[in-house]
């Protein structure tokens, strides 16, 4: 493996974590990012479920990219994605029933997460298997990271705990609104604000340097 190849893989992996983060930069997958992030553990579970689906379907789509006719490719992607989502749903129900109950319909809704379909169309269908795995892993871990950020903020403020572990003692009156739907928008809004502010500052510095 040449250095250049390793470099490219690292690049494909890292871009999803930060520079092209699906939630903070591309603003994709908003439905799960807002709906199931009312606790850190739910966010983590949703992130990992999405990771599994995205990586598996990327492998399959990229290895079948020459077999699938162009005209029916989207349908084929949806079939592939839906299969893995169903597998994840069964697995969650079997091994972590309480989390599956909390996530409810949102596990099934991973099928229509545009992050996943988007990666198949934009990357896996045009690149080799190995690169696609790196791309999918980077993107989905970036997604998990973003969900976890939102989930941690919402749980800490909204329930006064982190991963169900109480933080502030009995005297803390939780801001219930943060674990209700509006709290998702608040947390996401402030995170996007922070992210863009930081990115903007960095860009300015680079401009000054140049």
């Amino acid at each position: 493996m040449s250095e250049k190849e390793t470099d490219k893989k690292a690049q494909e992996f890292l871009k999803g974590l930060w520079k092209e983060n699906p939630v903070f930069v591309a603003v994709l997958g908003m439905c799960p990012a807002l709906a199931v992030t009312n606790s850190a553990i739910n966010s983590l579970a949703m992130g990992l479920a999405t990771t599994f689906v995205l990586v598996c379907s990327s492998i399959l789509v990229s290895s079948l990219r020459k077999v699938i006719p162009k005209q029916v490719r989207i349908t084929a992607y949806v079939i592939i994605i839906a299969t893995f989502v169903t597998v994840v749903d069964f697995a969650l129900a079997a091994f972590t029933p309480s989390i599956q109950k909390e996530l409810g319909a949102f596990v099934a809704l991973i099928v229509v997460n545009c992050l996943i379909l988007g990666r198949q169309e934009a990357f896996a269908s045009k690149n080799g298997v190995v690169l696609s795995i790196f791309d999918a892993a980077g993107m989905s871990l970036g997604f998990t990271f973003a969900l976890l950020c939102i989930g941690v903020i919402r749980e800490v403020i909204g329930s006064g705990s982190l991963f169900d572990f109480p933080l502030f003692g009995a005297g803390y009156e939780p801001w219930v609104v943060m674990i209700l739907p509006p709290g998702g928008f608040f947390a996401l809004g402030f995170l996007l604000f922070g992210f863009n502010w930081y990115a903007g500052r960095k860009r300015k510095k680079e401009l000054v340097k140049a």
Partner: protein, 252 residues
């Protein structure tokens, strides 16, 4: 530089390949194949996870039964058929498969000495968001509720979910009289044993719990009264005791 780029762009523009016509047979075939493979994967994982999922469900139900009937060490399952209770053992197998709805089951719980403690009754009705699934322990002799658990709920986090997270609300079910009827009162206003102190900010969820209990008792009181409790014996060979998690799936 600019010129070169332009030329390159033009080149790229001209080599856009014209999509070759693909026969519809190939399209149908490849989609059919994808469907077939996906079907096999789904059926495989379904068959693999089904016993685990069912075991989880049975396990959750067992734990709930032991929780709502304090001191309970074993239980027998009873089925409601045509307004009459029938013991699990006397239940014809064919019919059992026809009626598998959980609402038609109750569980008679016994303590270590084989004495009947009461019945664990599952009940479910709509709450604020969705169906609230519950199970409660019912002392038939004193006609009181002695334990209450929420099995399934999508009530608002932070408000409605207090029906199973709030310790004060749970205190209501230590010994709750059901005669003549369970009634809601405001917090701190409880005077008689048949009143439940509702949760501030979760009135609808609290009242839904009360409605669930009242309706379930209305449904079950008569069959349980008619049923000859002296006939009930704690399970001996069967597996519904506390240390028999593995056996239960075989029984079901």
């Amino acid at each position: 530089m600019n010129e070169n780029e332009e030329i390159e762009e033009k080149k790229e523009a001209t080599v856009i390949p014209v999509e070759p016509e693909v026969s519809s047979f190939k399209l149908i075939f490849s989609l059919g194949l994808a469907g077939l493979i996906s079907g096999i994967i789904i059926v495989g994982s379904y068959l693999y996870t089904l016993p685990i999922i069912e075991k989880n469900k049975a396990e959750a139900q067992r734990t709930a039964i032991f929780k709502v009937l304090e001191g309970c060490t074993s239980f027998v399952t009873l089925h409601l058929i045509d307004g009459k209770l029938v013991e699990d053992d006397n239940f014809p197998k064919v019919k059992k498969e026809a009626i598998t709805k959980e609402e038609h089951e109750v569980f008679a719980g016994f303590d270590a000495d084989g004495k009947l403690i009461g019945f664990a009754i599952p009940a479910a009705e709509p709450g604020f968001q969705d169906i609230i699934g519950t199970i409660f322990g019912y002392d038939v002799v004193n006609q009181t509720i002695i334990g209450f658990e929420v099995l399934e709920s999508k009530e608002t986090p932070g408000l409605g979910d207090k029906i199973f997270k709030d310790a004060d609300f749970a205190l209501n079910f230590k010994s709750l009289a059901t005669i003549p009827e369970i009634l809601p009162v405001k917090k701190g206003a409880k005077k008689s044993p048949n009143q439940i102190e509702t949760i501030t900010g979760a009135t609808i969820s609290s009242k839904a719990v009360i409605r669930i209990l009242n309706n379930a008792i209305k449904l079950w009181q008569e069959p349980i009264n008619k049923f000859d409790k002296s006939l009930l014996k704690p399970p001996t060979t069967k597996g519904n005791t506390e240390n028999s998690a593995d056996k239960i799936s075989e029984n079901e």
